[in-house]
Symmetry: D2
Subunit: 213 residues, 4 copies
């Protein structure tokens, strides 16, 4: 079982970002799961290309893209990506698309193909707050999620994919005491629990003789 984790490069001049740091800390091999990690640029278009190239090269069984959701207190498993870019701020290359489809003519939305409720439960059993989220926003996170799912769908690849939003770390909220946060250690633990749930789900399907798709 091979799982690809993606994380965005540092955004807006920061030297790092917690989603990237957490992905880097995830154990690369555990319980028969091989983890591949790929940093993608926080840029409309390029992020999808980088992830798609890695998918095509590495042929993972599943893809979990990870991004930061400032203001969130729990780990959020995204249910759906919508076919629109609507940026309140520019990306790392200064692009700020407004109400523009990600894939012209593409479906209005694509649902996550990861077992999001099993992932929520696994994270909760690891002692951390988690929930299903019904919107990944309209910035690069939703963009990447849509793009990856659309790539997999249009190439008819047998790969599950989805997106997980993580809270700020305490370091990021030092001077914003009203903002919720989660420690890097716990974000990492949550990603590992999510990955284990993805793997367990695939194994269940194989054991019960069910078809993956």
């Amino acid at each position: 079982m091979k799982i690809l984790l993606t994380a965005f490069d540092p955004f807006g001049g920061h030297s790092t970002n917690p989603a990237l740091e957490a992905v880097n800390r995830v154990r690369s091999q555990s319980d028969g799961i091989e983890i591949i990690k790929k940093m993608v640029p926080t840029v409309f278009g390029d992020s999808i290309q980088a992830a798609a190239a890695e998918i095509d090269a590495a042929r993972p069984d599943a893809v979990l893209c990870v991004g930061l959701a400032g203001g969130s207190s729990a780990l959020c498993l995204e249910r759906v990506a919508i076919n629109i870019d609507d940026a309140l701020i520019p990306d790392n290359q200064g692009n700020q698309p407004i109400d523009r489809p990600i894939v012209p003519g593409g479906p209005a939305a694509i649902f996550s193909t990861l077992p999001i409720k099993a992932m929520v439960q696994a994270i909760q059993q690891a002692g951390l707050p988690a929930q299903v989220s019904n919107s990944a926003g309209t910035f690069v996170c939703n963009h990447l999620m849509y793009g990856v799912l659309h790539h997999i769908q249009s190439q008819r690849l047998k790969i599950r994919a989805g997106f997980m939003h993580v809270p700020c770390t305490p370091e990021q909220t030092i001077h914003q005491p009203e903002r919720p946060s989660m420690s890097l250690a716990n974000i990492t633990l949550g990603i590992e629990a999510a990955v284990a749930a993805i793997a367990a789900h695939e194994t269940d399907i194989l054991l019960t003789g069910g078809a993956l798709y």
Copy 2:
């Protein structure tokens, strides 16, 4: 330098509470600071008596009472305790005083004598969000803070004292994903940083030949 940390016993039928667990994890001896720990009952009256008895027996240089503030995302250093009990829920013995003075005839409020802004800064330098809070509520936390400060004041003891509120742990918010939390490891780290700031402040005063009071 001897510092007394107090924490409340588990509340409302729970088997533990994170403030107590964190206090228990604080290293008992470090950098010339001796830490004494005392669990006090989550009960109006009894909590003050237990803390006052420990203060009289152990004669610490400073007292830091620690309690839980559900809904908080940062470590909160309380500025002031007010002379009133006004409980929305009963304490661990079923007491629920409404608009009753803690010490009849006592001052309306007593300010913390701990260096709260230095403590905030020390916690921030440890990488965690912290702030001064202007209200410790009107339940047992404010009650204990007022009672301890009043005991010290009325006995003319040369002991600094104050209160620190800590967030819920992630375990407590598993099914309340909108609630902020902080890991037990980080709460512990924050208490240790606060304790170090108290000790550094005392040392500064001694070194500069200043009087403590």
Copy 3:
């Protein structure tokens, strides 16, 4: 210009709901706009049928469905409805679908066809907070929005449609002082501003010789 407003019947044993009350207060005729109002049941399936029947009978130029979003402080113009029912609580007839498509085989999502950004701006110009929302949830509000848009799309009707979420009224938050609210008068004003923006948008399109679809 004929605009259909829908509102849900009172939910969960309450005698009324603010979205319904506000819709009832909207002036029925103004500036060449004829307003039709339709109360629909807070029930999966039935709500769509009731709205679709009214659309087929009245043949409005546009449909604005209105619903309550507890916890919201602003008027929210929904961008998209997704093809899933996932109810945390039962509807008014005890139905509680979990992860069930609204229209089996239907598109994953349908975008609002109302001019949501012009509506936001019109509400702001009326002195009220408003924003585009990227999720209408997965309860009856999203269900109705999807169902109405799907009905219009599948019947190839030349009717714009969308959904607006409104905050609780102050009466509903009397004992929940931490919850935001908006007065019934202002919710009504906001709906009227939104309706005017829909009408102005249609007029613009006609005047500039543009095609509606």
Copy 4:
């Protein structure tokens, strides 16, 4: 029965403020209650002097100071004022005191002498969210509340006094849709309900032959 309402002048370059506007809209005479209104400067020191001068000149039976609490969703009746100024931003004359007592040698705090729980109940019965607050902050609102209560206390005047915080109006939150607000009409209604509760309380005391103090 004569009741003095104070409100701060516009702050930070704004042309008005909602607390002032609401106070201006309160009916000046109703049910045997004479209302006097006084605008005070948003300035440390001067605000207390202006209010104290008006109290000495008009000799009201009660004083209700009103101020804005950005971020609040309910009308908040303050329980207590503390003897400290600690300003995060400058006042209207550029003063920004840090950790400075309002009245050197004054009591650490003074409790409101208004019937705050009866006022909360009266506002709730008027259909609006209200609560007792245990902190008026450490800026000019707490400053004025403390100063007025201290003036009355030190002059041994038979005048009740206290402070009420009101939310932002919707106009103020137009571009901050996550911020709660309350309509000017409802803020005004809430102040009127609070004033009526103050008057009813005084009448009760007189009718039952009780002493005011």
